[in-house]
């Protein structure tokens, strides 16, 4: 790879010169389409968002006057912002935690030696191809206050209907269900792949050792999933804190409810930018969201690392011990 010409270099012929030039500059040529486009539509907007967030932006002139941190201060003083922050975290927690537990559980079932593997795997992934907006509209019928599927069944059973759109908590449960519906299968497959990468000899040793399926799962499978779990949790954090589509279509007005029951950060950003047409504040909001995502992402990384690392040691020990006992 590193030598362009097998001949010893004497006086360079024209084709050799071309060959050298080719070797030296080709890599930059190949990455340039990506980086040029990326600079224009990725990097420039990020920097420009920071610039605009320190401005009072005039939409007509398309320019602004410098106001320092005023936009950030304005946002932090809005009660709506704190409500949106609370709602976003609430929806994020109600969706991520059950989703990952469920995904681990389903992946463990798929990891068994089942028949028609491809069928079950595809079945699990089916919701992934449905657009979040479509998922939202479908579940609106399930969670409608008056004649929805769930409330209809509850009423038939003689129970009180649930106020899906009036009560913040229940609206979060409804929106989290939409998120879970779409993403559980995707995460299941990622975890399944990690489970299949586990050396089957560990299970063999554990079986010989008399460990049941549950013990095998907690002592071998779970510790091996550590890096994958960290990956899945980080991705879920980045995506979950940006949630927009499902709360936007949760009612026909798309403003997060009459009392901001399900107003999320991105929904609020949209309202500031394209409802109130204040781009300086919207840009500041975008940066605040980014900082929150970074902070939570790092926090998650540390928590997951320290939590799962202990399990990893334990799993390793069990593995070694069982292997030793097999050898005996």
């Amino acid at each position: 790879m590193s030598t362009a010409s097998p001949k010893p270099v004497r006086v360079l012929s024209f084709s050799q010169k071309v060959g050298r030039w080719d070797l030296k500059f080709s890599p930059y040529l190949y990455i340039s389409p990506f980086f040029v486009m990326f600079a224009i539509v990725g990097l420039f907007p990020i920097g420009y968002t920071a610039f605009i967030s320190f401005m009072d932006w005039d939409l007509v002139r398309n320019s602004g006057t410098f106001v320092g941190f005023d936009q950030y201060i304005w946002i932090l003083q809005q009660p709506h912002f704190w409500t949106a922050l609370r709602n976003t975290f609430s929806i994020f927690l109600i969706s991520t935690v059950p989703q990952l537990l469920l995904a681990v559980f389903i992946a463990a079932m798929l990891d068994r030696n089942i028949r028609a593997k491809t069928f079950w795997r595809m079945g699990v992934l089916l919701p992934f191809v449905i657009a979040p907006v479509a998922v939202g509209l479908i579940f609106n019928v399930v969670f409608a206050d008056n004649f929805g599927l769930v409330n209809g069944i509850l009423t038939d059973l003689g129970l009180a209907p649930i106020p899906w759109h009036k009560d913040p908590f229940w609206s979060h449960v409804a929106i989290a269900t939409m998120v879970n519906y779409r993403w559980t299968g995707y995460n299941t497959l990622i975890l399944l792949a990690a489970m299949q990468a586990v050396n089957r000899e560990y299970y063999e040793a554990a079986t010989v050792d008399g460990a049941g399926l549950f013990r095998q799962f907690t002592a071998i499978t779970l510790p091996s999933l550590r890096p994958t779990l960290i990956f899945v949790i980080i991705t879920a954090t980045i995506g979950g804190l940006q949630i927009f589509d499902e709360p936007r279509v949760f009612d026909q007005f798309g403003r997060g409810g009459a009392g901001q029951q399900w107003l999320t950060i991105t929904l609020y950003l949209y309202d500031i930018g394209w409802g109130q047409w204040n781009f300086g504040r919207a840009a500041a909001m975008a940066w605040i969201l980014f900082i929150i995502i970074l902070a939570i992402g790092l926090l998650n990384l540390f928590i997951t690392r320290s939590l799962v690392r202990d399990e990893g040691r334990r799993g390793d020990r069990v593995g070694r011990r069982t292997r030793k006992e097999v050898a005996r």
Binding site: L23, S26, V41, T49, I52, I106, V124, A131, T228, A282
Partner: protein, 301 residues
């Protein structure tokens, strides 16, 4: 990591006499075929995945009162409801369908081309600044889409592109994830000796890329195409900001279906079913590749 491409994982899912014999070892280790409860559990999962779609067809084939009467079987009004969706002037369904098809196609094709080129350079060519640039690409994957929308909107309104499909295609033509994905794949799929052999035989860099790189990249490129296509098709936030009801994509059109004070859910859900059919077809034909793509990406995770 072995030189076997990660796609090989799914091979085991294909029932095949030889493969089954090889799998016998697995059967012994993990016990016999699992019993009733595993299949029962999986059936519950499958029903939960499929039921919402079925339910939207049930409601979408009824009329305005069907939500209240809660039928369990489809009625006969689906065609009528579908016609009122596609003929609704506020929604512009056919324009939305066409916009979704060609924008997703262009985006996926462009991402595959730029990612394969960059991935080849990062995985197999040594150049000054390569590793640093790669780390930079990976870091940008954590940046949320929201961080770019305000300047992009200002940019496109200066250009007079708001309401144009170009405004959703242009920002999506490259993907940091795509570059990362192709780099990871090509790094292990192509042995360095192969490239050296091609170079010794006098192939230019671009010819080596074309005859060795592109050929090896095809399976990963196909998966990347699928993922980007599905992602572009389902994307809502930015199209919703920059497009209007005259010229929407399908998710934007769907959100417009329920933006009235009186919402007839049978028509909304007929629209949902209509808009989901194209991706369901894609899923039937390429779902297996989506499954193996997700699983292949995970191992390297």
């Amino acid at each position: 990591m072995s030189t076997v491409p990660p796609i090989a994982i799914v091979e085991e899912a294909i029932p095949d006499e030889k493969k089954r014999r090889r799998g016998e070892r697995t059967i012994r280790i993990r016990g016999n075929r699992p019993g009733f409860w595993v299949y029962a559990g999986l059936t519950v999962v499958f029903i939960s995945a499929a039921f919402p779609l079925y339910w939207s067809f049930v409601i979408g084939s009824g009329d305005a009162s069907s939500l209240r009467s809660r039928p369990w079987w489809p009625s006969g009004n689906f065609i009528d409801n579908a016609i009122s969706v596609v003929s609704n002037p506020a929604v512009n369904f056919w324009a939305a369908l066409w916009n979704s098809i060609y924008s997703s196609f262009l985006i996926a094709a462009a991402v595959v081309i730029t990612s394969t080129l960059s991935g080849w350079a990062f995985a197999k060519l040594r150049f000054l600044g390569g590793p640093a640039l790669m780390a930079f690409v990976v870091a940008t994957m954590a940046v949320p889409q929201q961080l770019g929308v305000v300047p992009l909107y200002i940019l496109f309104s200066e250009l007079g592109w708001t309401g144009q499909i170009g405004a959703i295609i242009l920002p999506a033509l490259t993907s940091a994830f795509g570059v990362f994905w192709m780099t990871q794949y090509l790094r292990q799929a192509v042995p360095d000796e192969l490239i050296e052999a091609a170079r010794v035989d006098g192939a230019s860099m671009i010819r080596t890329f074309w005859t060795v790189g592109v050929v090896a990249a095809r399976p990963a490129a196909a998966m990347l195409f699928l993922f980007v296509f599905v992602g572009a098709w389902n994307n809502f936030f930015w199209p919703f900001i920059v497009l209007d009801r005259q010229n929407p994509t399908l998710p934007v059109a769907l959100s417009l279906l329920q933006s009235n004070y009186f919402v007839d859910y049978s028509i909304v859900l007929a629209g949902v079913v209509l808009a989901t059919i194209p991706l369901l077809l894609l899923f039937i034909f390429a779902g297996r590749q989506l499954v193996s793509g997700i699983m292949a990406g995970a191992v390297k995770g």
